[in-house]
Homo-oligomer: 458 residues x 2
């Protein structure tokens, strides 16, 4: 007796009609009538779950009727046409065996629970429909990212998570130590010096791009930022490709092609999940994703973007923050640009140098750097990238200005001496992408076990 | 003018013969003669690199002759038949432009450097042939692992890296903190309690297997073990699949199929890299990998393994450590079993319960657990797995015996109450696999930037 998955049952439904199959999984819901019963069954391999029907003919009918929600079962039965929906498989059961019981007070009952409640039982929430959808999209999107880069000859690089560089300057970091209080970061500590969790793999990524031309990272990064917002987590996954012989315009081409390909793959591989999420999040998700595929991302300089925003303001659009040349944009500005003005994703490039990182290519105007942010409708900034400063003198001068030690980062600046070349890269927070792809708006609900201030459960 | 990669040049060599192409990359070696020159060129996209030939006809002949090893260049020229080797592309250059210079004292000269020296310049070593081979195999193997699981319906799960569980009991951990000395792990710390870097994602992985049936993790793990050996690193990547409705024998089937598929893919996708590594590591690598594909892994219980080893000892085989029933095996024992006795990988299962982890299924004999180690020729233990204890009472009793808090781990033990089922999983250190695949015997040389005691550079 071969046991099949619900995925196979769905994929081969036509061929399996009338045949006997055996499935193993869990009871999501169990409706009992006097002479029969209906079990919503799932094994997590497919979002479209079969309905299991049994009647009095089945051996052990009375016990089967006592099976509780949450229990693990083995079901054998015949695949029959469904009355509800031709695409939803139905099994006329001939045997149902209990594999693992579940108590009456099981915390996941077949009703709508709030996401806040589900966060408290995060170890059970993957069994709900919402999180079956979210975490399958997460897995499929991760694979789509790997496939995108590998199919195009990129080398996947695991950059280090524990780092001794405190020069990256990208926010607060977590200290990593094995030493007792007072001895941390001393020669008595594990690494004999202060170490922390990496906030980026970009700098190490560049060292590999100067050897393999095209590389990408996909790994966890950490920020010890004490902010409790919907979009901040202390631990999250990042994708950071880095490409030699690539300038800023080519980087934008890559970002656009990459994003569309990921969206296309997820739409193709998770149609049922996205349909559910579209409904769950109030509609508009599928339209947004499909619109992306047929749109072209707009490209404007930061200066042009500010001009657009200031004109909008003059014409009556109300902003809480005044858009200013030489300054960062606010969320409301990003929203206006993508949703009101361009109705598409927008690349904003050539940013004021003072508000961007030291390693970005300094433009001839003396005021801006070759940085680019990709803004998308519904999720704001999705990717941030730049052409890198490849001129040794310009780079080290900028590091001096910002009090970043070029001695400590000798290996990074040396890349400019040892066969340096025009190169560019971007970073994308994976959870930011998932918020965009699923319509779920809280980062806590797209990570298996979120780490946020005062919260490190499971 | 389309710029192509050396990968494309190799893949489409026949079609490109006689055509003009442009390449961008670096000079690995430059041999000059009076009227011509030869450049060993690479861009890192392909292990088989073209030779660039130029003669006096080329514009700027004199300057081109001054181009130094390590420099970045753009080369345009005609693809011509190679004299050396029909499969190695040759370019008759019509233009060579310097993109980025490199000084005379560049640390990577075209000669054989020791791996110890190369570790000191780890940011440059990916440009060497050895590390081009190793890190491409790393990338290809990582992708092969993702493809293996995704093709079979497994969901990829990112388990947390920062953890508040101190109950996992798998060795020393790194403390993660943002608090000043004396306040660590208190309510003034980021998470309001002691937190550390995870040594495994298995336990969280099990919570997802109870929802998706088949899941895998692939992420970094950390051990603060103060050991300076060839096989220990403080930070390394692990793969941990977990499968519901799977017992120990089925787990072994999976491990064997998985390993063979990864080896097959790497042999297919990295033939040039493996040929080079075979030579570099003294031969035998390709034979070993090919032998795996045609062999069947042996399966013996721990007791049977000890009996084999003791008989060998009686017959004159010398062991430093006496093989004993009820005790762990030593490296020399593993070597004997795989290389002398079975001439194949060996599953050793049903281990003495006292030397294995609390979560393993307790066999009826009262002495052993359903654990399995996969030993491979040349690398020893490659995977460790088990059927999990699914009986609530047995599990919690064992936790009590070992002073592991079942209250703190309520979510883990609850999986046994809420629709529990037979399930199994294994863990494989990714670098251990790479040592097996590349023949390179030091973990420091298969990780981009290794973290070991007193060593956290780059």
């Amino acid at each position: 007796m071969e046991i099949i998955t619900t995925r196979k049952l769905k994929d081969e439904l036509a061929e399996l009609q009338g045949k006997e199959v055996t499935l193993q999984g869990w009871i999501r819901n169990h409706r009992k009538q006097k002479n029969m019963g209906f079990i919503d069954f799932f094994d997590g391999t497919c979002f479209r779950n079969p309905q299991v029907v049994y009647d009095e003919q089945i051996e052990g009918f009375a016990e089967i009727q006592t099976l509780r929600v949450g229990s693990a079962v083995t079901v054998t039965g015949k695949v029959v046409p469904s009355y509800k929906d031709p695409e939803t498989p139905e099994i006329q059961a001939t045997a149902i065996t209990l594999e693992g019981d579940c108590p009456e007070d099981y915390p996941l009952q077949p009703k709508r629970h709030t996401v806040e409640y589900l966060r408290e039982i995060a170890y059970l929430r993957p069994r709900t429909r919402l999180f079956q959808a979210v975490f399958r999209v997460r897995s499929v999107a991760a694979m789509a990212i790997h496939s995108y880069f590998q199919d195009r000859g990129y080398v996947y690089v695991h950059t280090p998570l524990i780092t001794g560089n405190d020069a990256e300057g990208a926010g607060n970091t977590f200290t990593v130590t094995t030493a007792p209080a007072g001895k941390q970061g001393t020669e008595e500590d594990f690494f004999g010096k202060p170490t922390s969790l990496a906030v980026t793999g970009q700098l190490e990524g560049e060292t590999f791009a100067m050897a393999f031309s095209k590389i990408y990272t996909f790994g966890p990064t950490f920020r010890a930022e004490n902010s409790n917002t919907k979009t901040h987590a202390a631990e999250f996954w990042m994708i950071e490709p880095e490409i030699a012989f690539c300038d800023l315009q080519q980087l934008m081409d890559l970002e656009e092609d990459f994003l569309k390909e990921i969206v296309r793959t997820v739409l193709e591989k998770c149609p049922d999940e996205l349909k559910f999420l579209d409904g769950f999040t109030g509609g508009g998700l599928l339209d947004k994703l499909n619109a992306l595929l047929s749109s072209t991302c707009a490209r404007v300089t930061h200066e042009e973007a500010i001009t657009i925003l200031r004109k909008a303001m003059e014409n009556g659009t109300e902003f809480k923050f005044e858009p200013k040349y030489g300054e960062d944009t606010a969320k409301e500005h990003e929203k206006y640009l993508t949703e009101e003005y361009f109705h598409s994703p927008v690349f904003v490039y050539d940013w004021p140098k003072e508000i961007k990182a030291f390693y970005m290519y300094q433009n001839d105007d003396g005021k801006t750097v070759s940085a680019v942010d990709l803004l998308v409708p519904g999720a704001g900034e999705l990717m941030g990238g730049s052409q890198r400063e490849t001129r040794y003198d310009r780079l080290t001068q900028r590091m001096d200005d910002l009090h970043i030690s070029k001695e400590e980062m000798y290996w990074y600046v040396n890349l400019r001496k040892f066969g340096g070349c025009t190169h560019s890269g971007f970073g994308m927070g994976f959870e930011r992408l998932l918020i965009y792809l699923t319509g779920v708006d809280n980062i806590r609900d797209v990570i298996p076990y979120a780490r946020t201030p005062m919260n490190c459960e499971f």
